[in-house]
């Protein structure tokens, strides 16, 4: 058993982290958030050639697989980069069979597991009608993958975001680093996708579990670094607060969560990549465990920072909100645990 990233994967991570440090500094990130416009980041990300990593060459990507996608998600989470467009698009690739030129999103509520989707209505001539609230990257997408029909007999169709009959209403999240929008379809023309809906939805769900967990892992690790730095710098009663066991043990427990999360996460990523029989359970386990651990770590980090962590000026708030949204994004831990319970055939 060899349990480490390849040299290539290590260099990829390093390069992406460097690039994000240059392009998506906290100041830059705050600028995009204030303008409520993630497009400059999304465009630069594509222009500088990162967008195709983790998508196979035959699907129009630059090669690599789920592990590379997880590395990407982790780095994006660390940097609190506005990554809804990227995440939505990589989740849509299984449905499209190819990396689309523009941002494409599943037309599903961002708080649900992809494959729990109830389909919208379609006319015999392929015109689709329905309301879907809180679509991830709903206002950033150029096209939507639409699920049609009831579970078990679902089919997939593609809709242009600027087609007649599409209304998009952006909604504000506390976490400014991701976007959602309510999308209304009123008799909108669509084209059929020939992928098998159930297979593709299952694949997108497994990917969603791994990638949101990876995002949370990145945010959690960055929060731990902030905690350690701050606890060495901040002094009370004449000593750094990091010398208090209540603080250092809290940091140590975060470290345990980070390491446990990383071990489980990259196993799940490799499992989904290899299509292991139980990869769905592995993905569900990391989504439930790592995102919950990161949300807990966010609270701990806030405690360690005291009031400064509660301010707008401090970057902790960005990571805190990132981690808290990750816990609920694409399904809360209880939903994923339920998936595990069903998968284990318990009573």
């Amino acid at each position: 058993m060899e349990w480490k990233l390849s040299d290539e994967q290590d260099s990829y991570r390093e390069a992406l982290r460097g690039w994000l440090g240059d392009v998506a500094s906290p100041e830059a990130v705050r600028g995009w958030f204030e303008a409520a416009d993630p497009a400059p980041f999304t465009e630069r990300y594509a222009a500088d050639g990162w967008r195709g990593v983790g998508v196979a060459e035959e699907e129009g990507g630059q090669g690599g697989g789920v592990v590379e996608l997880a590395l990407t998600a982790e780095e994006l989470g660390r940097a609190v980069a506005p990554s809804a467009a990227w995440l939505a698009t990589v989740l849509a690739v299984p449905a499209l069979g190819t990396l689309p030129e523009h941002t494409t999103a599943w037309l599903l509520p961002a708080e649900d597991l992809p494959d729990s989707a109830a389909g919208v209505r379609a006319d015999p001539d392929g015109r689709v009608t329905g309301d879907v609230a809180r679509v991830l990257a709903g206002a950033e997408a150029a096209a939507y993958v639409v699920v049609v029909g009831a579970p078990g007999e679902r089919t997939l169709r593609l809709v242009d975001a600027d087609a007649d009959g599409v209304t998009v209403r952006p909604r504000a999240l506390l976490d400014h680093s991701r976007s959602v929008a309510d999308v209304r379809l009123e008799s909108v023309a669509s084209t059929a996708l020939d992928a098998d809906a159930e297979t593709v939805l299952a694949r997108a769900t497994d990917l969603a579990g791994v990638l949101v967990a990876a995002d949370a892992l990145g945010a959690m690790e960055r929060m731990l670094e902030l905690c350690v730095d701050y606890s060495l710098q901040r002094r009370q009663f004449g000593v750094p607060i990091g010398s208090f066991q209540a603080v250092k043990h809290a940091a140590a427990e975060m470290e345990v969560a980070v390491e446990a999360g990383r071990s489980a996460l990259y196993f799940a990523a490799a499992s989904v990549e290899a299509g292991l029989e139980e990869c769905g359970l592995h993905a569900a386990a990391v989504k439930a465990q790592v995102t919950a651990a990161a949300a807990h770590a966010a609270d701990t980090a806030l405690t360690v920072h005291g009031a400064i962590g509660y301010t707008w000026e401090h970057d902790l708030q960005l990571l805190y909100k990132r981690a808290r949204l990750d816990e609920h994004l694409l399904g809360a831990p209880a939903r994923w645990n339920e998936r595990i319970a069903v998968g284990l055939v318990l009573v």
């Binding site: 066991q245 209540a246 043990h249």
Partner: protein
């Protein structure tokens, strides 16, 4: 609102603490290791008149309420006597409640003074291998034979049966399937544990080894009608009356063990030096102990409220269940942390916290599991659907 104990209650506390204090931790360690009933301890409390604390005065007792009984058992446990000490007298303190309320005058005159003076040891025979908390499912059967009953069946987890002369025995006089309501057809007796017809086998167990827990095999035990408590078929109702006070008393015992454990932990944390300073200076040790203090204090308040309500004749089920739940967790956590504070020494018998730990664990199981408390609160207090 008044949080103060009465003068009597304060006196009970001090006097019990003083008397129990005469039996130190090594005494309990020896009794526990030898699986030997703490006769001297029991006799001291009997001689002091403590066993009749809730027995009405006309039957030789003090006529106090559950608040006073809980203070007594809490202080007993807190002295380091733990569940060994508390269980040696627990049944005498309150177990006879059904007899006091529903027993015949003759039964009371004959037995209650002997219980109060410690001469008569008693136990409580309800649970069975096929029916734990699902009490209506017991199958031990009392069959009429003239003016007598003849009983056959099995009981399990009967504390102190080995040491007891008499048992408060719950039976069925009509089968479950023949009863209109499942709580019908159950009859309570207070009778002799005749060794010729009851085989008593102690269960090997994790702790509280100075007082036995037993399995009873009852074979044609003949019980005269006069030993029946109250009406035939009403036994379940008589037992139910005593459940809330029972929960309060076990809560008090859990609380007492927690106090004992915390006391030892604090002492050790202050005395033991590592890296040139007392280990209690480490927040990693100090905070859990401070947290336990807060939790024990909070649990104590609910317990006081529960016993106050009961003694006022007010509904107390919610508070009694909550008290048992919180005291058991707070007591066990305190014992666990005391053990952790002691490090390797905590695992040796010499420092006594291992014994507290084993005994505190019992209160999360008995008289009912924490989960059954949650079932009660979920269903009966919150109105959620029954989950089992």
């Amino acid at each position: 609102m008044d949080f103060a104990l009465t003068e009597d209650q304060e006196l009970i506390r001090t006097a019990v603490a003083e008397l129990a204090g005469k039996f130190d931790d090594p005494y309990w360690m020896e009794k526990d290791e030898a699986h030997e009933f703490p006769r001297e301890f029991y006799d001291a409390f009997a001689d002091g008149g403590w066993l009749g604390i809730t027995t009405p005065e006309e039957y030789g007792g003090q006529g106090f309420g559950i608040t006073e009984a809980s203070l007594l058992l809490e202080e007993v446990a807190a002295s380091g006597a733990g569940m060994n000490g508390a269980s040696s007298m627990h049944m005498s303190i309150f177990g006879m409640h059904p007899v006091i309320v529903h027993g015949s005058e003759e039964m009371k005159k004959e037995n209650l003074p002997r219980i109060a003076n410690g001469d008569l040891h008693v136990c409580f025979g309800v649970t069975e291998p096929g029916a734990g908390l699902d009490t209506t499912r017991i199958t031990t059967f009392a069959k009429r034979d003239g003016s007598d009953y003849v009983v056959n069946g099995r009981k399990v987890w009967i504390s102190k049966a080995q040491e007891s002369e008499k048992v408060l025995l719950l039976t069925r006089t009509a089968k479950f399937d023949d009863s209109d309501r499942k709580t019908d057809g159950m009859t309570l007796f207070f009778t002799d544990l005749d060794r010729d017809h009851v085989d008593i086998r102690p269960i090997r167990k994790m702790g509280r080894n100075a007082v036995t827990s037993n399995e009873l095999f009852i074979d044609d035990l003949r019980i005269p009608e006069e030993h029946r408590v109250g009406e035939e078929g009403q036994g379940f109702k008589y037992i139910i009356d005593g459940l809330n006070p029972e929960r309060c008393l076990v809560a008090a015992e859990a609380l007492g063990i927690g106090r004992a454990a915390l006391r030892r932990a604090v002492r050790y944390a202050t005395e033991r030096e590592v890296f040139g300073r007392p280990i209690g200076m480490n927040q990693g040790l100090q905070f859990p102990l401070a947290d336990s203090l807060a939790r024990l204090d909070a649990a104590e308040l609910v317990l006081r409220k529960a016993t106050w309500l009961y003694d006022q004749g007010l509904p107390s089920a919610r508070e009694a269940n909550t008290a048992k739940y919180l005291c058991a967790d707070a007591g066990f956590d305190a014992a666990d942390r005391a053990l952790q504070t002691h490090g390797g020494m905590g695992y040796s018998e010499e420092y006594h916290v291992a014994r507290y730990f084993r005994e505190a664990r019992l209160t999360r199981i008995a008289p009912l599991s924490q989960e059954m408390v949650l079932n009660f609160l979920g269903e009966r207090v919150l109105g959620l659907p029954r989950s089992y």
